[in-house]
């Protein structure tokens, strides 16, 4: 079981690395989005792509920032469901 724990630790480190990479990716995405949107090329599709890139990067950053909170919330709700029900109140 020690190997499993080591693996869990490794996965945790990978997750942390992925998360830090993610912020750079979002930043790049946001910058590229603005660059495309503000570029002097008069293609509507290009502008729209830029717009969606900006939106996606902001949304993704939002969800990533909320990620740990959401997971904690899920754990909390699930564990409170598994707890035995409180007895009914007595008058």
């Amino acid at each position: 079981m020690g190997a499993v724990l080591n693996l869990a630790e490794f996965v945790r480190q990978v997750t942390v690395a992925v998360m830090s990479v993610a912020w750079f990716v979002f930043l790049v995405s946001w910058a590229v989005g603005w660059a495309l949107r503000g570029s002097p090329i008069p293609f509507r599709n290009l502008k729209r792509t830029g717009q969606s890139l900006i939106e996606d990067s902001v949304l993704a950053a939002f969800w990533l920032a909320l990620g740990t909170t959401i997971f904690a919330l899920i754990s909390y709700i699930a564990s409170s469901i598994s707890l035995p029900m409180p007895p009914p109140p007595t008058p």
């Binding site: 724990l5 979002f26 996606d56 949304l59 754990s75």
Partner: protein, 445 residues
């Protein structure tokens, strides 16, 4: 649970990777779609990881609601397996009896029946195996299922979902099998193997001493004996399975043949099953190949059987009586005295079942006598008797039909019904695994 912490980390990783894909600067729709799917998967698997203990408790909760329990189910399975094993052994012993008795046609039928029972037994054992695996390993199956479910890029999602569904559905479903089975069949009884009995005992003379190598013949209505068996050197004999199949409560007339003479046995009529002594009331076996036969109304006041002499004190009550001496040809009679006077007796010889036997008879009128015979005894060999065995064919054909019907009902109750139930459970597991996002088909986005 280490597996669960690993699964939790993996779901977090899946979620982060999804966010990366979603927010990546690649303007490809498929990448974005994968990103969203992975974020969703990460959340779903986090929910599964968190509800692990809830899922375990849920199984017990449902079982409590449905009034089913694993110990009862295991007891039910064990009971059925016992029934089948008992029946199988019964069939095997009857088949062995038939084979020894030479009823080969019936043996073929028994082979068919025993294969039916063996198939049912295998089915029950398989269910037992599956149940044991589910019962003892379900928490591990659930944990590994969740772990597989959480691997990023949906690599183990189908298998994981199937394992989660299996551990839930089978844990709740299997203990309900008795209820399912009882709705469709009445519990079949084991095949009885006590329909046949045996006749066993020992052959003794008027004094209760065993007679070696005597022949026991049993008669029914005809003049020919239906059973002929040879007793051993201690006078014991056995008629019963596997050589003979005697139905219980059947009656036979018994006769004992010794040294070429047929004697009425006491008791004369034997009812199956029987065990006891078959007594010949008008013969004494002196030992070492010499016997004394009394014909007529005689009161014997004393008998003295020594190693090499016989002394008889008797009173003849009728007008005439006869005392016969039977001996093997190898036995040497030195002299015979009546009172103190030696007498000559003419020995007639004849052969009986490969043995040379000699006889001599002395007649007496009414009165008291003392007879003494001195002899040199010899070893008593086995007569070459052809034994005859008996199978109650009329009874056994009906019995075999009953067995066959029972065996077919076993096949229905123990193979078809549980298999159908397992198929229902598998279908339910498949449906649940599809709900969890699995299913047998690999989903491509």
């Amino acid at each position: 649970m280490e597996f669960l912490s690993l699964a939790y980390m993996l779901s977090l990783l899946t979620y982060s990777l999804g966010a990366v894909f979603y927010g990546s600067p690649l303007p490809l729709k498929s990448v974005k779609k994968w990103g969203v799917l992975m974020m969703y998967d990460g959340l779903a698997s986090a929910v599964l990881v968190s509800t692990y203990s809830l899922l375990l408790k849920l199984g017990d909760y449902f079982l409590a609601i449905l009034n089913a329990s694993w110990p009862n189910f295991i007891a039910w399975l064990t009971g059925r397996a016992t029934t089948l094993v008992v029946s199988y052994l019964a069939i095997q012993s009857i088949a062995a009896a038939l084979r020894v008795s030479g009823a080969d046609i019936l043996v073929e039928l028994m082979k068919h029946v025993s294969s039916l029972v063996a198939t049912s037994l295998t089915a029950i054992k398989m269910i037992y195996l599956v149940s044991t695996v589910v019962y003892s390993l379900r928490d591990k199956i659930l944990a590994i299922g969740i772990l597989l479910y959480t691997i990023p890029l949906r690599m183990g999602k189908s298998v994981g979902a199937a394992m989660i569904a299996l551990s839930i559905v089978y844990y709740i479903g299997l203990p309900l099998m008795p209820a399912f089975a009882s709705a469709f069949e009445s519990s079949p009884l084991p095949i009885a193997y006590d329909r046949y009995g045996a006749i066993t005992g020992s052959i003794v003379d008027a004094l209760g001493s065993p007679i070696p190598h005597a022949v026991v013949k049993l008669y029914r209505s005809s003049r020919d004996p239906v059973v002929v068996v040879l007793g051993d050197s201690e006078g014991r004999f056995y008629i019963g399975p596997p050589q003979d199949l005697l139905a219980l409560e059947d009656e036979f007339k018994a006769e004992v043949v010794f040294m070429g003479y047929a004697f009425e046995a006491d008791p004369q009529v034997i009812k199956v099953p029987w065990s006891g002594s078959l007594r010949i009331s008008n013969m004494f076996y002196a030992g070492k190949g010499l016997s004394v036969v009394v014909i007529g109304i005689v009161e014997i006041s004393s008998i003295n059987l020594m190693s090499e002499s016989v002394i008889l004190d008797l009173e003849v009550l009728s007008s005439e009586a006869t005392i016969g001496f039977l001996k093997l040809a190898s036995v040497e009679v030195e002299n015979i005295f009546i009172g103190v006077e030696p007498i000559e007796c003419r020995w007639n010889s004849f052969s009986w079942e490969g043995l040379e036997v000699e006889e001599c008879f002395i007649s007496f009128s009414e009165g008291r006598y003392s007879i003494q015979l001195n002899y040199l005894g010899s070893y008593v060999p086995r007569p070459k008797v052809e034994e005859k065995h008996y199978i109650d064919v009329g009874d056994i054909v009906g019995y075999l039909n009953t067995i066959q019907t029972t065996a077919v009902s076993y096949l229905y109750s123990y193979l078809l019904l549980p298999s159908a139930y397992l198929i229902i459970l598998s279908a339910s597991s498949y449906a649940l695994s599809k709900f969890l996002g699995g299913g047998l088909r690999l989903r491509i986005i």
